[in-house]
Symmetry: C5
Subunit: 96 residues, 5 copies
């Protein structure tokens, strides 16, 4: 899974019909301190995440292993909200 920060939202009227009602959030990969980097990607939310939240995203076929995403054409899912990240015994990120 990738550590990621939710940075935005998408609106899409025309899409695969199985995606109706799915929340597609814009996220950006982040490091252990929660600092985002790189180009954004889009993931389906399954944990009621919002802009600013630090999350984990699962990719590929693993993104379809939730009740919300099963058998749908999505390749990235937010499957966990991050409370704390700790590296080498130090807390590097804590949910505000």
């Amino acid at each position: 899974m990738l550590i990621a920060k939710v940075i935005g939202t998408t609106v899409s009227t025309i899409k695969d019909e199985t995606l109706t009602g799915q929340k597609l959030l814009i996220v950006q990969q982040a490091d252990e301190k929660g600092t985002p980097f790189g180009k954004p990607y889009v993931a389906v939310d399954t944990v009621n995440a919002g802009v600013g939240d630090m999350v984990l995203t699962a990719h590929g076929s693993s993104a379809r292993q939730t009740a919300i995403t099963k058998e749908r054409p999505v390749d990235a899912v937010i499957m966990a909200m991050i409370d704390t990240l700790e590296v080498d015994g130090e807390v590097t990120f804590q949910k505000g």
Copy 2:
């Protein structure tokens, strides 16, 4: 999913027979403002997209989870047209 811009079309006479009639579009990954970057790739269209449209593409086995692409040898699908992208409360892309 990746944010992508449709930039062109492909013509292919000789191909896997299950791909007959599929529309293979050339796309380029884009950022939250809709600015394309990087090398192009090819995705099957399932939402009647055209050159200039901003779309989402799903990859890998997830690209085969549509009625059009099921059990076909394709690894990228356009499964949504983007109307609006919003980052940190600001609209960064709006369909023209």
Copy 3:
């Protein structure tokens, strides 16, 4: 799918027994003009492609969705020959 150019061939005597008779070609990713770049990879041919041809390759589990590659340990397949690539209304590649 990736746009790719067929640049060579491989010979392999010792291999997974399900690969007997498969044609493993060396390909290199290419841009919309057909200009190759990057390191080569190897893909199974299913469209009778030859050195110099511009093709599309599908990857991952999607590479196993052809009659030739089904249930075999291959992760890249040539599933289409490219006749024409057109970007923004201009023909950028045409089969010679």
Copy 4:
């Protein structure tokens, strides 16, 4: 598989319900000497690994081929602890 070093831990209260009780570790890819590099990612532990351990991680659908991760939305798993790495006849890493 990737050679990786376990560098930290995550705490996540809100997550996909099938992930309850799973240990999500922060890891970083490493070279044959055990030197980590690149951005961290998160993998499910199945071998009782701890911070400082050198491990192997499997990715994608392969990450779901363990009793612990089966049918769960995870795309990286720690499936082996590394005792020794040997390159060209020289031991390059040995568990302390």
Copy 5:
């Protein structure tokens, strides 16, 4: 598939129980001349390869399509030994 050179071996006592007896080799991607580059990764051997051999590796779910790797948590497999690589009509690599 990737062209790769076998550069070393791993020893792992604690691992997923389905991996008992599997040979996990350290490999490095190589170009058409057999020159290795980039960081090493680990692949399951299915063709009795040894250090110094040039091989092909298949990745992702395709790595599980052999009798040895089926339903196991491995994402890279050596499924062929390379005898010869030929690019543009020139032999670029020949097994010694």
